[in-house]
Amino acid sequence: MGSGTNIGRVRGLGSAQEGAHHWILQRVTAVGNLALITWLIFSLLRLPNYEHELMIGWLASPLVAVPMILMLVSIFWHLRLGLQVLIEDYVPDHGMKFGLILLLNFFAIGGAALGIFAVAKVAFTGVAA
């Protein structure tokens, strides 16, 4: 490792060892999104109407609640990875970048948790009309 120019000091240090992981997870969650959102669209279009009572019955079914929960996980994971790249590309300041990625993590985990809890509540308890 050289001690002169900046490029001399970083040359040959190798990769950060985790770029491929991010890239692969982005693709894996993309496939998950593709399958589960296709399911959601067709499942919704097949419903006769969108009254609250019917939505409760629909969402409480295991064959709807489980893919819905999986979809939330896949979507929010994919979203977290995508917005991370957005922040890394356009926010040069280290402190700002750190803070925004912290907020992004809260948003992704909090959003997914709220969605999953809502589905679980309907599935387990139903909602009084």
């Binding site: 490029i7 279009l45 969402l59 939330l72 995508g82 957005l86 809502a118 309907v122």
Partner: protein, 198 residues
């Protein structure tokens, strides 16, 4: 917009965005050079390097004092200088629609699920807002973003596999993506319209 190279470190030429921090470090190191005592000396030095640069032609000397001609290196110019093509549009739309879905679409999805779980009144409020023209506009926009991002994502899978880079094929599929997205959005909302109203 022209890309200006740093006189000392070349980083700006290689990776404009990601290396901005390294470049800043280079600038601050440069600031630590002993201050020139006489302004005239400074002016003279600048004039001398200017004349030298004129004599040597385009290019600059890096820290190793090696002359770097601008034609030797790949440049990384900004958007403004490229000729627009469908591939460029689709690439930009992929990021824009993905971010729109992440920032607006996902919260809408959660709001919808929450309103179902919270009871009929909350659900009524949600459907009331979403069937208002403004709500519909947002929903239709989100539908287009979803289709655009999905089809563009499928295109990326093909590109990831190393296919679809031939000029004509690339042009064909990058033109097809936004067209298919518009057609799908129109078809879906036509279906919803005929189902709920017609």
């Amino acid at each position: 917009m022209r890309v200006r190279a740093c006189q000392n470190c070349e980083y700006f030429r290689i990776l404009q965005l990601r290396a901005a921090d390294l470049h800043r470090e280079c600038v601050s190191q440069n600031d630590k050079k002993p201050a020139r005592l006489f302004a005239w000396g400074f002016v003279f030095a600048k004039a001398r390097t200017g004349l030298k640069r004129l004599r040597q032609g385009p290019g600059f000397r890096n820290r190793g004092q090696k002359l770097v001609k601008p034609t030797n290196r790949p440049l990384s110019p900004h958007l403004g200088i490229y000729k627009w093509g469908p591939h460029m549009l689709v690439s930009i739309l992929h990021r824009a629609t993905g971010d729109a879905l992440a920032i607006a679409g996902a919260p809408l999805l959660i709001w919808w699920l929450y309103s179902i779980s919270a009871g009929p009144e909350t659900y009524e409020t949600f459907t009331g807002i979403m069937t208002h023209p403004v709500g519909l506009f947002v929903l239709i926009g989100m539908t287009f973003a979803l289709f655009e991002h999905t089809y563009s994502g499928l295109r990326h899978f093909v590109l990831d596999a190393g296919a679809g880079y031939e000029l004509q094929q690339n042009r064909l599929w990058s033109s097809a993506v936004p067209v298919l997205a518009l057609v799908s959005t129109a078809a879906l909302w036509f279906f919803i319209y005929t189902k709920l109203i017609g």
